[in-house]
């Protein structure tokens, strides 16, 4: 089961990497992507606050980036 998870993840990343070569834009075409609201982590403070709440209320955490400092609340 664990092994299957790992294989799935590696396969997903490989497929993503290889399929990606046809996607994309030119360096001067990034006006929209450069908008603050289009950054992958466009609201780091919101995410930090929310992640901390959900971390202490649910059995899951992480995924987006490193969870950061631990907490005694879970």
């Amino acid at each position: 089961m664990k092994y299957a998870h790992r294989v799935t993840a590696i396969a997903a990343i490989s497929v993503a990497l290889s399929a990606c070569s046809g996607l994309g834009v030119q360096p001067w075409e990034r006006g929209v992507l450069a908008r603050p609201d289009m950054a992958p982590n466009s609201a780091p403070m919101t995410n930090a606050l929310d992640d901390h709440i959900y971390f202490s209320k649910e059995a899951s955490s992480g995924g987006r980036s490193f969870a950061g400092g631990g907490c005694g609340c879970n």
Binding site: Q26, P27, W28, E29, R30, G31, A34, R35
Partner: protein, 156 residues
């Protein structure tokens, strides 16, 4: 008169000339032609209002404009914003004492194989590409300035 005082006076004079004559042109991509700048060193820059390092490069380019006369150095900044209003707003905020070309369709960057924003190209008076630069770091700014200074010194 010390060198420093003379330089300050010269800079002040050039600054007022730049302001008075307001030599900074605003052009469209169709009217841009490299050959028009033959006979003087050309500093060609690609920029966009959404590009942070471009913002840091504007004071540097304004300094460069003030250091050299129009007859020896041309500075042309090609804007690639698709929204011209955003480019104009950027120019209002940061000022540009040099020529700006608006290329909303993005027709010029492919010709120069632009690989990042900003990208700068330095041409000799004969139209030969002397150097190019991708990006703008404050820590590289003085070194990059030396390259331009050297090109102008070499041209005399």
């Amino acid at each position: 008169m010390s060198k420093k005082v003379r330089f300050t006076l010269l800079a002040t004079f050039l600054m007022s000339v730049a302001t008075l004559s307001s030599a900074a042109d605003r052009l469209n991509a169709e009217s841009f032609d490299l050959d028009n700048y033959r006979g003087k060193v050309l500093y060609l820059d690609f920029w966009a209002s959404w590009c942070g390092p471009c913002r840091a490069s504007f004071p540097w380019m304004n300094d460069l404009r003030q250091a050299y006369g129009e007859d020896e150095l041309a500075i042309v900044a090609i804007n690639v914003d698709t929204n011209r209003g955003q480019a104009e707003q950027f120019l209002d905020e940061h000022g540009a004492d040099f020529d700006v070309v608006f290329d909303q369709a993005g027709s010029l960057p492919p010709e120069f194989e632009v690989m990042g924003m900003p990208s700068a190209y330095l041409y000799s008076a004969e139209g030969e590409l002397l150097a190019s630069h991708i990006g703008f770091r404050q820590s590289d700014a003085s070194e990059w300035r030396h390259t331009v200074d050297a090109a102008l010194a070499g041209g005399q």
